[in-house]
Symmetry: C2
Subunit: 450 residues, 2 copies
Amino acid sequence: MATEIIGGVRKRVLIVGGGFAGLRAAETLKDAEVNVTLVDRRNHHTFQPLLYQVALAVLPENEIAQPIRGIVRQANTEVLMDEVTGFDTEQCRATLKGGAELEYDYLILATGSTHSYFGHDEWATLAPGLKTIDDAVEIRRRVLLAFELAEREMQETGKHPAMNFVIIGGGATGVELAGAISDVSKLFIRHDFRHIDPAKSQVLILEGGPTILGAYPPDLQKSALRQLKGLGVQVRTDTRVTDVQPGYVMVGSERIDSVVTLWGAGVQASPLGKLLGVEVDKKGAVIVDEHLHPKGHPEIFICGDLAAAKMANGKPVPGVAQPAMQMGVYAGKSIALEVRGERMHKPFQYFDKGDMATIGRSAAVADVKWPFKAHLSGFPAWFAWLSVHIFFLIGFRNRLSVFRNWAYTYAFFKEGSRLITGDQTLPGWDHSTEGGALRTQPIAGTAEPH
Amino acid sequence: MATEIIGGVRKRVLIVGGGFAGLRAAETLKDAEVNVTLVDRRNHHTFQPLLYQVALAVLPENEIAQPIRGIVRQANTEVLMDEVTGFDTEQCRATLKGGAELEYDYLILATGSTHSYFGHDEWATLAPGLKTIDDAVEIRRRVLLAFELAEREMQETGKHPAMNFVIIGGGATGVELAGAISDVSKLFIRHDFRHIDPAKSQVLILEGGPTILGAYPPDLQKSALRQLKGLGVQVRTDTRVTDVQPGYVMVGSERIDSVVTLWGAGVQASPLGKLLGVEVDKKGAVIVDEHLHPKGHPEIFICGDLAAAKMANGKPVPGVAQPAMQMGVYAGKSIALEVRGERMHKPFQYFDKGDMATIGRSAAVADVKWPFKAHLSGFPAWFAWLSVHIFFLIGFRNRLSVFRNWAYTYAFFKEGSRLITGDQTLPGWDHSTEGGALRTQPIAGTAEPH
């Protein structure tokens, strides 16, 4: 515990997770009299709000991911690429994958969230979600490869499977992916093929709840629905997927063919929350008090998606970038005060500037709450979304490059980063005979894309 | 055969391979009265001369790879992403992986070359070579991860394995990789770590022959050797690797530890050459006459690395970009003439402008033969190399972007594209205990990085 440290020795702050919360926490502690260690499994920070742009080949991955060592260059902070596998909160120690231990006086845990397949982990390889650069590259690979395989099959056999892209989940990620696939097929690659017409592709969102974008005001939900329909995206609500198989999904007894299935349905908190041995909610997010502490641990701060924090109105703080950054700053400031012998009295309060979701090119919804209140739709919302995200890429050397790529791609429908790398097969496609025919029955052998 | 086609019908030209030769051939046939089909296994053309820059995190992959559909946009040409698995040269048919067949009147075969492990294919996963984007990303992953693992081990255990990078083969690829690893460790990432000093890394080239850069004039070989030594790269010639294991290589009874082993030793021609059923040399390259035809097949042209062509002086045409492009143009012109009822009388002759190999930042050798004869070393050679390669990126939308990235990276030693994606383990490293200790004995289990 902090109190066990002999006076004069710098307090050790352990930050686990190099996402928005972790990076802002480290930045906030830049001038504090502490020694900071930032641990992340990966060597890079990912700008998640733009991940779907990588997934749909608009932006190359290196434009939205930066090495953490390159971002965090401050004397009192070291970066360690490693995986935390456990905690001894009594002894204030974190265990690393290799077995070594890191002692801390303060712990900032900000390891975010991951996909939840509702107990059907076998669906993961059949319906990838979008959380990491690897996820995005895998989705890009599948979507682009589906068109190539259809072209090949049409060229060789005169027929090809219906180009149905099924997106499970109608939250922000599902809506963004749906709009982007529609853009890619109707704008960017429509002139690339001779035998198929990518513009005839169908994008279908299957949402289990009564509405898409559940967190948004009703008028924006309706607007989003209109804009999606305008792009030709089909939306089915109150529709629960009961099975995911190579080449199709099941809704009860109804079978829906799918050349590529994507997952935007469930998220769950990083497993590290449970490892603390404190109270977590049903998603595994850590229940925190108004100072972001789990019960009984004033030396621990939980930030970002991993924190089950409440807003003034009692609603949960959304799992997006803004609150994550604010929590990181709050934790950093609290520790900086404490090591100076002061105290952070102000509880954490999420300053909600609003929510935005894009629906493809120049379509979006924005629930703006600051600096003014407004519900924006269509181009204004998209422009607001674009401006804000460009702005928050600050610190990324290639902010301008992102903007240029973007403007270029959207203005001229030219390839952003349209590479198919790695494995050249898709689940559900039979690659043994007529170049990539989509099987009508599941094949165990192709359930694993890798 | 061409003569079997009823008059009036456009001749069908099948180009297999979307490398330098295939693309130039298609381009040359742009206005010819033919229907061209360009088949490639991948959806992108790779600018191979710059691959090593991707491998060492200077350039992001999308800057040197472009979708073939985006490059070849001409009315008489269609692009098919598929794999040719056989030929019926009597019936003028190519078989595709899916079993379908493509008929042709003219065949341009330009599928290049691949690594040769001299019958030790089990070395492939332990010592990756550099031919594709996937290869480059894998090498980048291994080199960057090696430093991260060493830092982790030093931080956790107070020791780390000697950072020896072993490169097998002292040809152009080996020399470029060696120089680039030296640059990365001594310039780009030297300030990234707290516990290890990347600048202390050792790069070792093991060359089986009597000299590095065997194809170059003796004075340039010596200069290259001097420049490599200047970068701290060790070179051992007449040194045959007898075994490659996770974590080390064997030279006879001598064991040389290696955190990352790379392969620049052998190449062999694409297997498609043999499938033609014509005469091939010991590397599998197709023996061609002065018109690039294999014996008895005036309707077939072999271009690029796959062609065993001779220069005026009797020496083999080198397997680099220049001759490949020239062969592609020659084949295209020949066909364009024939379909107009004329004949190409001039035999193919390689117009040799010279050879260049870089040895890291502002170091290189250039054997310039045109527009003037000169042997360049050091910065002038490097500058010539850079200018030429930037120039030949023409057609790549992001030529300027490459140059900017490059200038930026080399001028400020800033990260180019330093992402570690995919698998987070390395062969030879034990990831079960103390974060990534390099095993001193081979472990079967880790022989496969994937």
